[in-house]
């Protein structure tokens, strides 16, 4: 098949990976968007999927978060097969995501965007909310505090907490999306082109921040990028998709040197 010799990286492979995708194929009425992809994410790692536009990255990503279900193959998260689960169930298990084109709850306030992200970790039911019973106030207060902490963590001033999220500047909207995802205490954070539309300075800030999230929150992170330069610095392992197939996998240095990647992905620019 493809180069699998790079798979056991420096991480001691004793521990079971957080997520294991086996033989995942997704077809849309004949169009095969993902073909027989094997992929895993070790705990507390940052891995990246790259590939040219239309390579099937986002399709694959959507299957990890339950939006699509694979035509065949399995996806195990912490040993549980999530491949046929609804998105909200997957979210409850500890998978949170952001979107390539920012998708905030635009007409909700900044703080409410984060608080709603904590939905799966809250327990208050509607009848408890009406009656004011079942520790509902404490839960609400704790959620609000946590939301403010997360805003601070991602670097959004609490002064804008009551603004509608659609009124935030672009960079803050990206950060808010991450804060919303973090609010659910995820084990796995899926970031879909987190630096799209950013200038080089902002991009570096974002990649630094992603590194910090892993170090300080102990998160496991999967990045999707079509720009290879972005992921070189932060990710320890890169998987390359092209035309729906995995064509290479390995450390950034290996990927950079892989002739198939250069041909399929960087080819034109490299030879130009």
């Amino acid at each position: 098949m493809t180069t699998t010799d790079a798979e056991p990286t420096m991480d001691a492979a004793a521990e079971r990976p957080l997520l294991v995708a086996t033989d995942v194929t997704k077809a849309f009425e004949g169009l095969v968007a993902n073909r027989e992809i094997d992929f895993n994410i070790p705990r507390n790692s940052i891995v990246a999927i790259i590939g040219p536009n239309g390579a099937g990255k986002t399709t694959f990503f959507n299957q990890l978060s339950g939006v699509y279900h694979p035509t065949s193959g399995t996806i195990e998260f912490e040993g549980i097969d999530i491949s046929q689960m609804a998105p909200h169930v997957v979210a409850g298990l500890g998978v949170a995501r952001t979107y390539q084109n920012i998708r905030l709850f635009q007409n909700m306030t900044v703080i409410n965007n984060v608080m709603v992200g904590r939905h799966v970790r809250m327990h208050g039911q509607w009848y408890q909310a009406i009656a004011g019973l079942g520790g509902i106030r404490q839960e609400e207060e704790a959620t609000r505090r946590r939301a403010f902490e997360l805003l601070e963590l991602v670097g959004i001033s609490r002064r804008v907490a009551a603004e509608l999220s659609k009124n935030l500047p672009y960079g803050d909207q990206r950060r808010l999306e991450i804060a919303r995802a973090l609010a659910s205490d995820p084990k796995l954070l899926l970031l879909d082109e987190p630096t799209a539309g950013m200038n080089p300075g902002e991009t570096r800030q974002m990649t630094d921040f992603i590194g910090r999230l892993r170090r300080e929150l102990g998160l496991t992170i999967l990045l999707i990028e079509h720009d290879m330069k972005v992921v070189m610095g932060v990710s320890e392992r890169i998987t390359v998709l092209d035309y729906g197939e995995k064509i290479a996998e390995g450390t950034p240095a290996e990927i950079r040197a892989n002739p198939r990647v250069i041909e399929a992905y960087l080819g034109k620019q490299a030879t130009a």
Binding site: M108, H119, V120, M122, A129, I130, E140, R158, E216, L217
Partner: protein, 576 residues
């Protein structure tokens, strides 16, 4: 070049204004409202209605970022253009009179006298010129108000509002003043059915003063409130609530039977609006068949409580109510389940269909043995006693007031429930679903459950409205539950501001209460509804009282900022 362009757009605006004025006259709106006096012998509501377009457009045009003199010139141009068009239409109508009535049947001789100031003995030509002069003057006045400093603007608006409101409440206020032995005051304020000149002048001054002083008063009050300690603040909040409830409690005794009837009608729409607000405003599910729940609540109640119904149980209302609520919530789930996968327009059309199905079924021959077909179900008992009961302080309660008290209680309860839900995990989940269903689901929200919950909650509130309605009319007939009810409730919610609880109350008063106060113009009710809705959607698309959650959160953010809140990153790590 640009100068010419700006002038041309001013002329255009003026001509449109003129067309609006001609329209108001031609459909008979202005002359109908002319019967209603604002200041007796000087100004009628019809005159005012014609005066508002040039005033408003003059005000708007003068807001352009240009030198003052040109802003005023534009306002003048607008008025002139509007006046000339209006006068030309008047002269044309005069020339074509009586023949024109075959096309525009409202353009009577009396109308032409009204428009051309014939009552002042003016010839048509002179009347036309006077119209041009007045329109120009009004537009210029609007422009002057616009360029005036803010306090002056505020004063003018305040004065005008005060006069208008006090003159419009005359049919209710005067009998009340007489009831409380204040006939002297009544005679001073009102002459015939409008304000007297002297009282109008005084009210103008008071309105202006109040409007100018208001921001300062509010600021000092709110700053004092902000500096007060939390204990005092919550005490003040409770006190305000208490005063409001006391006011509502004694209102029927003060207001008399007709106004109470109006309040009951408004109350029904407040209740329905609060219910629909959960479905449309919170959860974003556009339900055009909400009347179905109103009808279902009313019919279930009638079926269970009326001794002459097919069931003949004749249960007490309060025993029946929980059963009705439960049944209606189930109907909500029943309707909600098949439309779970539908979004936006499709959902609206399907719910519209459900509303119609409900209406047709209720009056159908097939269900006649149970629901009585077109005759409905009669002899539904009163909620309390025989429609007459005694309350402390208020004393004997009868007539519409017998419905008023429980209805108000349920409105307050519904508002409380809506408020609690809004600021909860449930409310946020609904809002998220409204904003982006897919992302909401990826955030962990079970959209199926929350949609069903919204439908069930909306149904429960709506059916309580229906249940009270059935006892209020002591019966149900299928005629009362048509599409117009659904649309009116939706209009109440949208006008007030989607998702806003206070907005529903204001919207119900504006859309249901005001037309009742201006009963004699019922003929034009829907026309005015339409115009008001269009105007609000253009000028204030977020509604009259936009969702206040942002304000509340602003305060909380400030509070949290004051208290120290140090963030330790490892603290956030959570269970990892």
């Amino acid at each position: 070049m640009t100068r010419g362009l700006a002038l041309r757009s001013a002329i255009q605006a003026g001509l449109i204004t003129g067309v609006v004025m001609v329209y108001l006259v031609a459909v008979g709106l202005a002359s109908a409202f002319a019967r209603r006096e604002v200041v007796t012998g000087f100004l009628s509501l019809g005159h005012l209605m014609l005066a508002i377009p040039p005033l408003a457009v003059g005000y708007i045009v003068a807001g352009r970022p240009l030198p003052t003199s040109r802003r005023l010139a534009h306002a003048l141009t607008v008025g002139l253009a509007a006046g000339v068009l209006f006068a030309a239409a008047f002269l044309a109508a005069e020339a074509l009179s009586p023949g024109i009535r075959t096309v525009l049947n409202r353009v009577s001789a009396a109308l032409l006298v009204f428009v051309g100031f014939g009552d002042l003995g003016l010839e048509p030509g002179a009347g036309a010129l006077l119209n041009v002069a007045i329109a120009t003057g009004l537009a210029l006045l609007g422009g002057l108000v616009r360029i005036a400093p803010v306090p002056v603007r505020r004063a003018v608006v305040g004065a005008a509002t005060a006069v208008l409101v006090l003159s419009m409440v005359e049919p209710f206020l005067r009998p009340r003043l007489l009831q409380f032995a204040l006939s002297g005051l009544a005679q001073f304020i009102y002459r015939s059915h409008g304000l007297s000149m002297a009282s109008a002048a005084i009210i103008l001054v008071f309105g202006a003063l109040l409007a100018v002083a208001w921001p300062g008063m509010r600021n000092s009050a709110s700053s004092r409130l902000a500096s007060a300690d939390p204990g005092t603040r919550s005490m003040l909040r409770w006190l305000a609530l208490l005063v409001a409830i006391a006011f509502l409690y004694t209102l029927p005794a003060i207001s008399g039977s007709f106004l109470t009837q109006v309040l009951v009608l408004v109350g029904f729409y407040v209740l329905l609006g609060l219910g629909l607000n959960i479905v449309v405003g919170y959860a974003g599910l556009l339900d055009l068949g909400y009347v179905a729940f109103y009808a279902v609540g009313a019919y279930f109640t009638a079926l269970i409580t009326s001794p002459t119904s097919a069931l003949g149980w004749g249960l007490n209302f309060w025993v029946a109510l929980p059963i009705v609520v439960l049944l209606s919530a189930m109907v909500g789930l029943f309707i909600g389940a098949p439309v779970l996968r539908l979004r936006g327009d499709y959902l609206a059309i399907v719910t519209l269909g459900f509303g119609e199905i409900a209406r047709v079924l209720l009056g159908s021959d097939a269900l006649k043995p149970w629901l009585g077909g077109p005759n409905g179900i009669l002899s539904v008992p009163f909620m309390l006693g025989d429609g007459t009961y005694f309350l402390p302080i208020v004393g004997k309660v009868t007539g519409p007031a017998a419905t008023y008290f429980p209805l108000m209680g349920f409105c307050i309860l519904a508002a409380f429930v809506a408020y609690r839900l809004k600021y909860s995990r449930t409310g946020r989940a609904w809002n998220a679903m409204r904003e982006d269903e897919d992302v909401a689901q990826a955030t962990g929200i079970s959209t199926v459950n929350y949609k069903l919950l919204a439908f069930a909650m909306g149904a429960a509130v709506g059916c309580v409205g229906g249940a009270i309605y059935a006892t209020h009319l002591q019966g149900v007939v299928p005629g009362g539950f048509d599409l117009l009810v659904s649309i009116t409730v939706l209009a109440v919610v949208v006008l007030g501001g989607m998702g806003s609880i206070a907005g529903v109350v204001v919207g119900a008063f504006a859309l249901i209460g005001t037309p009742e106060l201006l009963r004699e113009f019922a003929e034009y009710k829907l026309l005015v509804y339409g115009a008001v809705l269009v105007a609000v959607m253009i000028l204030r698309p977020e509604g009259l009282i936009p969702d206040a959650s942002r304000r509340a959160e602003l305060e909380e953010a400030r509070e949290i900022e004051q208290g120290e809140l140090k963030v330790e990153y490892d603290e956030i790590t959570g269970d990892a």
